[in-house]
Symmetry: C2
Subunit: 209 residues, 2 copies
Amino acid sequence: MKFYDCSVAPSPRRVRMFIAEKGLDIETVEISIRDGEQMSPEFQAINPYCTLPVLELDDGTRLTNSVAIWHYLEAAHPEPALMGRTPLEKGLITNWQWRIEKDGMEAMGEALRNTAKPMAGRALAGPHAYEQIAELGERGKLRVQRFLDGVDDIIGSKPFVVGDSFSVADIDLLVMIDFAKWLKLGLPEGAANAKRWYEAISARPSAQL
Amino acid sequence: MKFYDCSVAPSPRRVRMFIAEKGLDIETVEISIRDGEQMSPEFQAINPYCTLPVLELDDGTRLTNSVAIWHYLEAAHPEPALMGRTPLEKGLITNWQWRIEKDGMEAMGEALRNTAKPMAGRALAGPHAYEQIAELGERGKLRVQRFLDGVDDIIGSKPFVVGDSFSVADIDLLVMIDFAKWLKLGLPEGAANAKRWYEAISARPSAQL
């Protein structure tokens, strides 16, 4: 297997943390998005969507998004389970992971890609050039802050996003909160449950990657 | 269990088809988005995100998005498998389902919600009012057509999106193509593989729902 990574982007970090939590050792290739390597003909031959991460399996199959890579690795290496064991756990973990991806990570991408100067003409990831839409950037920032304001209620008194064990929902929430610092947005003052959770998850070895 | 459905919206259809393919019989409650019932205090108490579908489990847990509902039902009722049996199948089905959701269904939502007059002030699903952004509506239409132009390559000579069996990737692709008719967009002329696939999937009993 070969893992195409990018150390500065949020989506590949979701998979780096997952691989570390599973204790797997996978050959890794760094692709520099600062140098535009994801748009090169060489990388387009690997992933026509021009995005990271990519997991290349031994039979040559390539999985080109984080959630697909998680599902493959979870099924191939079930322990420790990071996507739930029972139907209820699987349902709840997906419920929150999807929500964090949609209302948190996607809103963050909307905000950053439509406001940051180096992202001009790159308002969406992928092979096509889309111009920035200023109004969409502002809407994205508003959505990110609304999401961050709700994290305290998502966590409540629990140690993890879902139940008593670490899961992909925790990975996505951590990656989202850390990356929102680029927008100078963060958890609100007084979000005691969210901050307790954030400190505990940030201290995991996988979170250092 | 109780399934909160909406017969005219695309996301609930993803779950209706899944339930039918599994041969399950689940009590169903219709919520009328034409009458704005998803914004009512009664429904907000069921789902604060004001979206359909919702699956309410017997212990009172509520799953509030299609993908979470699929994972719960797939684990609770494994046969027939609709999300893959092997690690490779699970990875590939998720790979395509996620891609269809992102580049197809989400682009469609972007196009429709930012251009249709009845959607004024409702440019995103959920409890918050967001104004339409005309430029985003146009971008959405362009993305939908680009996605539809690529379906023939996704299908190729295969009977299904992934391998030899029907999966959630087929459900999402069918729901996306059917709903794109509201935008007067469709598969391009000459997309012979995509059209063969579309006719076969459209003929399934679950697709009549």
